[in-house]
């Protein structure tokens, strides 16, 4: 595996993590993982169930500390307790189940939880909460109760809660897996906009290969190890068939059209495929 050592924003240097170490239930979730993520990138991390993806998410902001190796965020070591506060200001995580992330009974209080804990001035908190809620298009709901929202709306509140901390990196750990199609699309649109327009670094952990096809850089994990990394070309590696993840739909359709004699160029998303077919017809 290649090693990236330098001043990347997030750096994993030969990181391993084991759950229940030293017991008979020991699970080596992450093994000798090295990777680096630059500021402003849109990264997809994919892998089968149990491949160690969520452990990587938790290692990124010091929720878990590597057993061996080192994780740094903006040059700060996650194993250094004094740096944790600064690291968590930089890396926000949105998890799978929105119900597990709500801390308050009023939506705007929930979004204010992060900035309040940063000890900010009340005026600054108000302005951050308002702009975070507007950014996910939930401002009109600010005085309502989270439990009355749909899953997709709750997940948007969870994203607003992260935005209000103004992190430089947002990690989404299967954040669309419990949502209906519209909710899923809303979250993807927000995340793409944050990355493209506001230059936020986004790390998307997912099983959906169509979501991975939107990323600039793709990491593929199997059994705790990083087995593929690179640009979009990773999405046509036969390894994705062997490990059961499969290709993004546009990649497999393009492949079948080529087998049928059509000279389809390189495409990864549905829109790229449609564009290419229109060109050829």
């Amino acid at each position: 595996m290649c090693y990236y050592i330098g001043m990347s924003f997030i750096n994993f240097d030969n990181v391993s993590f084991t759950y229940s170490a030293g017991t008979q239930n020991e699970i080596r979730a992450v093994k000798n993982l090295s990777l680096s993520i630059e500021e402003g990138e849109f990264v997809a991390l994919v892998g089968h169930n149990g491949s160690g993806k969520s452990t990587v998410a938790k290692l990124m902001n010091g929720l878990l500390i590597p057993r061996t190796g080192k994780v740094t965020v903006n040059g700060l070591d996650t194993a250094d307790k004094k740096s944790l506060f600064e690291i968590r200001k930089n890396v926000g995580v949105v998890f799978q189940n929105p119900d597990n992330q709500m801390v308050a009974t009023i939506i705007e209080d929930d979004v204010a939880f992060g900035p309040e804990n940063l000890g900010l001035d009340p005026k600054e908190i108000r302005s951050r909460v308002d702009s975070a809620l507007k950014s996910v298009d939930m401002y009109d709901y600010r005085e309502g109760a989270p439990f009355r929202l749909s899953g997709g709306q709750k997940q948007r509140i969870a994203i607003a809660g992260v935005l209000a901390i103004k992190p430089r990196v947002m990690v989404l750990d299967e954040s669309t897996s419990m949502l209906d199609p519209q909710g899923k699309k809303d979250i993807m649109d927000i995340v793409l906009r944050l990355n493209r327009e506001e230059k936020m670094t986004v790390i998307m952990i997912t099983h959906f290969m169509d979501e991975a096809a939107l990323a600039d850089k793709i990491f593929v994990m199997e059994d705790g190890e990083l087995v593929l990394s690179g640009g979009k070309e990773v999405l046509k590696s036969p390894r994705l068939i062997q490990n059961g993840l499969g290709y993004p739909p546009a990649v497999s359709l393009a492949k079948r059209l080529r087998e049928g004699g059509m000279d389809v160029g390189e495409v990864y998303t549905d829109d790229e495929l449609v564009e290419e077919i229109c060109r050829l017809l």
Binding site: N49, G50, S150, K184, H207, R256, D270
Partner: protein
């Protein structure tokens, strides 16, 4: 044998400021042997609907008859619940016992069956979900992988030998291979349990496995369709906040660009595009 639902209405917290109509005069029939899909956005009433089918929610408006059991009259809950097996979202969270064998035996035990009948059913159900009975029966369900745990949870329901199996988002959270394995397993189960009802947000799954599909929106039934009828109606899909299956979506995007193509699955899409290509170069 069938499920006949007439004018089903359900209101949460009636006569309070929180009153909410979850189902509004919903009527349709699920036939014996259907692989029946139920789709709709979050909050459309899907879960309220299926919770009626085994009496988890008491019928308050309209009527439901499940395999001859009339839920609007006094009926035997135990009988209904052994007819209708319910598998909730993330069913592995409901595993609780020390061994797989004991966990799967919980349902049949509560049905008051004999020890030998219970043992037979446990073995039958664990084998039916594709697990190695001898290897797994004495293990703790909590040591298993996510996919295995979901199968054990499914076995716990199948051990009651239901005639109708209701699956709420059976593939949520699984990786692509795990999803396919569970869905293929439902086809095998269907040989033993003839009627399967599935809620899913994944339209590719609905299109590939269901023969009929009910669409719910805001507590009302929009209709019951075959996959071809349903996914030919992109207006309805869009209005309901749903999405098209991949092949139908790409066909629609091509139509929006002036390419006259329709397809309901990947095979049809590929041949339609290749035909259009030949026609345009003829």
């Amino acid at each position: 044998m069938s499920i006949v639902i007439k004018e089903l209405t359900h209101v949460y917290s009636p006569r309070t400021p929180f009153e909410k109509t979850a189902l509004d005069k919903v009527s349709f029939t699920i036939e014996d042997g259907d692989y029946f899909g139920i789709i709709g956005h979050t909050g459309s009433g899907k879960s309220t609907l299926i919770s009626h089918l085994n009496g988890l929610i008491k019928l308050t408006g309209g009527s439901i008859v499940v395999n001859g059991i009339d839920l609007s009259k006094k009926y035997d809950y135990k009988k209904l619940r052994s007819e209708v097996g319910m598998v909730f979202q993330y069913p592995e969270y409901q595993l609780f016992d020390e061994t797989v064998e004991r966990d799967v035996a919980f349902g049949p035990k509560n049905m008051g069956l004999s020890a030998s009948e219970i043992a037979d059913r446990v073995e039958y159900a664990i084998k039916l979900v594709g697990l190695d009975y001898d290897k797994i029966k004495n293990r703790s369900p909590f040591e298993l992988s996510g996919g295995q745990m979901r199968r054990v949870a499914l076995a716990g329901v199948l051990a009651m030998r239901p005639k109708i199996l209701v699956l709420d988002e059976p593939t949520a959270g699984l990786d692509p291979r795990g999803k396919k394995e569970i869905l293929d397993l439902t086809l095998k189960i269907k040989e033993h349990c003839p009627t399967v009802i599935m809620i899913s947000h994944n339209m590719d799954e609905i299109a590939a496995y269901c023969n009929r599909i009910a669409v719910l929106g805001g507590g009302k039934l929009e209709g019951v369709f075959t996959p071809r009828e349903l996914f030919g109606r992109s207006d309805l899909i869009e209005r309901m906040g749903l999405s098209l299956p991949t092949a139908a979506l790409i066909a629609k995007k091509l139509r929006d660009r002036g390419v006259q193509i329709s397809a309901s699955d990947e095979d049809e899409l590929v041949s339609a595009i290749l035909n259009a290509r030949r026609a345009s170069h003829a």
